[in-house]
């Protein structure tokens, strides 16, 4: 056999191998055809077992290993196991939810509980439009595990169900209750004799004073500038009322260019114009900017109430971080100064094709029990969506101010959900516009134009499913 022959024969072998390989690898999109519910675990529903959990069915839980870690989940799993000792629980934690789980969704073998969070979060729009999520309606109707006489739904804070609902179906259980606001150090302000300003004019005057004292009034996560969209939109909603947010969420034409948004953008442009932002902020990521803030290099930062636990390691003792609502633009504001953006966050879901859907719902019921919620708050210093679960729990300083802000805000609280409906709009498009605006490269009009262009591109994209909310 000469060299030529070998080459020919290997080529032939290669040709034969290819289709075989195709069979071996299968097709990425071919798995997971509906095989019916044959493989699903189902138990008998009873008063003790309202969700019909099969007591020996294994339960697989995947946790996002982020700011909250995974210990809290292990505690919840232990509680589940206490009730169903025969169930084997398979726990895992990762920071890369989408990359790890995408093949399993396609294959039709997803885990039973997924904490879909973090930078590697799977876009909910995609999940919902592909019917990949189980309806959690039964969970809401089930009685609470340890709050007698109430259904799970009755125990939740207002707004918790709405945030996780798509076209009226409750699909995503957001476990934490997050308050978004402007943070400052009580100690720094007390030392210097500063007072948090309630109106925008006073805020600007205070910024001037702070700058004169040699401290930058503001810093922000320049690499993730969307953090600054939160106070800006909040300012607009307090001026124009919740309809401002409704229009943005429903992708109404020119929602981003409403009068309220214009006034808010003009107001916030002041801190850019007057150079009230820590130099170099556009190049800092969230951790770097928050650390600069903790070191007292800047007075204000915009963040959600996870800030305290995220900064735990670098916050000096006695720093006493406090959250405050955005200042009012003027007496014409539709909402009072105390109104603050509060919303359920940290999403958990049960995939529609999970083997143990009932177990997943029961796991959520465990998390939403008073015991489960209190344990969570103790472990990670964050609020849950369970009303009154903080009773008798000693809260750290910052979280205490969060609770107070929520109480003061009461029924004036507001929220928006366009970031859940259209992840790309906030993460990419509004984010980029904020970067340009807060580094001073564009003015308020161009900023709103760029946001509106982003919203329009989503609205015109027929491959993205659209959602509307009524109020």
């Amino acid at each position: 056999m000469n060299r030529r022959e070998i080459l020919q024969r290997t080529a032939a072998a290669g040709l034969l191998a290819t289709p075989a390989a195709g069979l071996l690898a299968g097709c990425a999109t071919s798995g997971g055809d509906d095989k019916g519910d044959s493989g699903a675990y189902k138990g008998t529903k009873s008063e003790q077992n309202p969700l019909g959990v099969k007591e020996d069915a294994p339960l697989e839980v995947v946790i996002f290993n982020g700011g909250f870690g995974e210990e809290y989940a292990k505690a919840h799993e232990a509680m589940y196991k206490e009730k169903y000792p025969k169930a084997k629980i398979n726990h895992s934690a990762t920071q890369e939810i989408s990359k790890t789980l995408q093949p399993r969704f396609v294959d039709g073998t997803p885990p039973d509980v997924v904490n879909n969070s973090g930078a590697g979060q799977i876009d909910f729009n995609g999940l919902v439009s592909q019917n990949a999520l189980a309806d959690l309606g039964d969970l809401l109707a089930a009685p609470s595990l340890d709050i007698p006489g109430k259904t799970v739904k009755d125990t939740l804070l207002p707004g918790a169900v709405e945030v996780g609902s798509y076209d009226g179906k409750f699909l995503v259980m957001n476990y934490t209750y997050t308050v978004y606001g402007i943070w400052h150090s009580t100690k720094l302000f007390a030392d210097r004799g500063w007072q948090y300003a309630k109106t925008w004019d006073e805020h600007i005057a205070l910024c001037k004073q702070i700058k004169a004292a040699g401290i930058a009034p503001w810093t922000y996560a320049g690499i993730h500038p969307r953090y600054m969209s939160w106070p800006l939109i909040s300012t607009a909603i307090k001026l124009g009322g919740p309809s401002v947010a409704l229009a943005i969420d429903n992708l109404e034409p020119n929602a981003w260019k409403s009068d309220a948004m214009k006034s808010a953008a003009d107001a916030w442009h002041q801190i850019v114009k007057d150079k009230y932002i820590l130099e170099g902020s556009p190049g800092l990521d969230h951790k770097q900017s928050q650390t600069a803030w903790c070191q007292g290099k800047a007075a204000f930062i915009s963040c959600g109430s996870w800030l305290e636990s995220e900064q735990k390691d670098v916050t000096p003792a006695g720093f006493n971080m406090t959250v405050a609502p955005t200042p009012s633009l003027g007496s014409g504001d539709k909402l009072p100064f105390e109104a603050v953006r509060g919303t359920a966050g940290e999403p958990f879901m049960v995939p529609a094709k999970a083997k143990n859907v009932a177990g997943g719902l029961e796991y959520f019921r465990t998390m939403l029990s008073k015991k489960g919620a209190q344990d969570f708050t103790k472990k990670v210093a964050s609020l849950t969506v369970v009303a009154g679960a903080t009773e008798g729990v000693e809260l750290p300083f910052g979280l205490n101010t969060v609770v107070k802000a929520l109480e003061a805000s009461g029924s004036n609280g507001f929220n928006w959900v366009y970031n859940n409906y259209y992840r790309k709009l906030e993460r990419n498009l509004v984010d980029a516009a904020c970067g340009e605006f807060f580094s001073g490269r564009i003015g308020p009009a161009e900023f709103l134009d760029q946001c509106q262009k982003g919203a329009d591109s989503i609205a015109q994209d027929s491959s993205i499913k659209k959602y509307k909310r009524a109020a």
């Binding site: 024969r9 997971g32 690499i223 190049g283």
Partner: protein, 302 residues
């Protein structure tokens, strides 16, 4: 012995070919197939949409923006890396002044060679994080030095004028070391007497580099060119970790666009595959063009 050879060869060749088929060819073929669907990645449902994804792609400003950046990388990174690599390799092998007649490297050649190779040993992720800290506008090494010298201190990765070039610089930095070693090794293979002959003829070091070293190194440079061109079409890891394409998409590259479309802000796997297919053909054409453009007659020492 003769008839025993055939089964032996087949048994050696078959496993790698099967592996190649399973893990290389079949994913490629699937990517081509997926790129003609509207698959959203989390269900088995994928409807064929023909060439619709490619039509959308033609009018996608973000994709074009990323491609433009890749084009700049393609023009700048290989030229800069090869130029620096050649320069350093020349200095290390024949830059020495000691004994005018001989051909030696500068003093401390061994140390330099080692130091230049350091970035090659680090994983790209480490390099990205390292430079992210160096570029930190507040506490980074770079601005620390600029501040000490009383120079302006830009926000680097936070400034669309600089972010892309900052990443490009890191790309060159992390590649140069390897090519210093590669070119250095190739230069060692050039017979010394050729250099001694041209030195006797009075050639300067620059002329030596231009007229002797580069022509004799041409094969190696060609290989370097293709590698670097392919690397320039990627650049994904550095961009994703250092800037994620920002600020305002100024440092975006096509690989990052593909990743973001599938795993980042959306789940459009069909569209992302279409971007992948475009990348595949671009890389292929660039490799072929680079090979063609660099083709010259091979020189053999006798």
């Amino acid at each position: 012995m003769r008839h025993g050879r055939y089964p032996l060869i087949v048994s050696f060749l078959l496993p790698p070919l099967v592996l190649y088929g399973v893990f290389v060819l079949s994913p490629y073929l699937q990517a081509f197939q997926i790129s003609t669907t509207n698959w959203l990645g989390y269900s088995a449902q994928a409807d064929p949409v023909g060439m619709a994804n490619f039509r959308t792609l033609l009018h996608d400003g973000y994709v074009w923006n990323a491609l433009t950046n890749n084009a700049v990388l393609l023009l700048v990174v290989p030229v800069l890396t090869i130029a620096l690599g050649l320069f350093f390799a020349t200095m290390l092998t024949m830059g020495g002044r000691k004994g005018q007649a001989g051909v030696t490297g500068v003093r401390g050649t061994a140390v330099y060679r080692l130091v230049y190779f350091f970035p090659q040993v680090l994983s790209v992720v480490i390099i990205a994080l390292l430079w992210k800290e160096i570029y930190n506008p507040r506490s980074g090494l770079l601005n620390g030095a600029l501040h000490a010298l009383g120079l302006p201190t830009p926000a680097w990765l936070g400034d669309p004028r600089f972010a892309f070039w900052c990443v490009l610089a890191v790309m060159v930095w992390s590649n140069v070391g390897f090519y210093v070693v590669l070119f250095g090794a190739a230069m060692q293979a050039i017979p010394r007497d050729i250099y001694e002959a041209v030195m006797l003829d009075g050639a300067s070091r620059a002329v030596m580099l231009r007229k002797i070293t580069i022509p004799l190194l041409w094969d190696t440079i060609q290989v370097a060119w293709i590698y670097l061109a392919i690397a320039a079409l990627d650049g994904f890891i550095l961009v994703q970790l250092m800037t994620n394409g920002g600020p305002n998409f100024s440092s975006d590259v096509i690989g990052n666009r593909m990743y973001d479309t599938a795993f980042g802000s959306e789940t459009k796997f069909g569209y992302a595959s279409a971007i992948g297919v475009v990348m595949f053909f671009l890389t292929l054409s660039v490799a072929v063009l680079a090979l063609r453009a660099a083709r010259r007659d091979r020189i053999e020492y006798s």
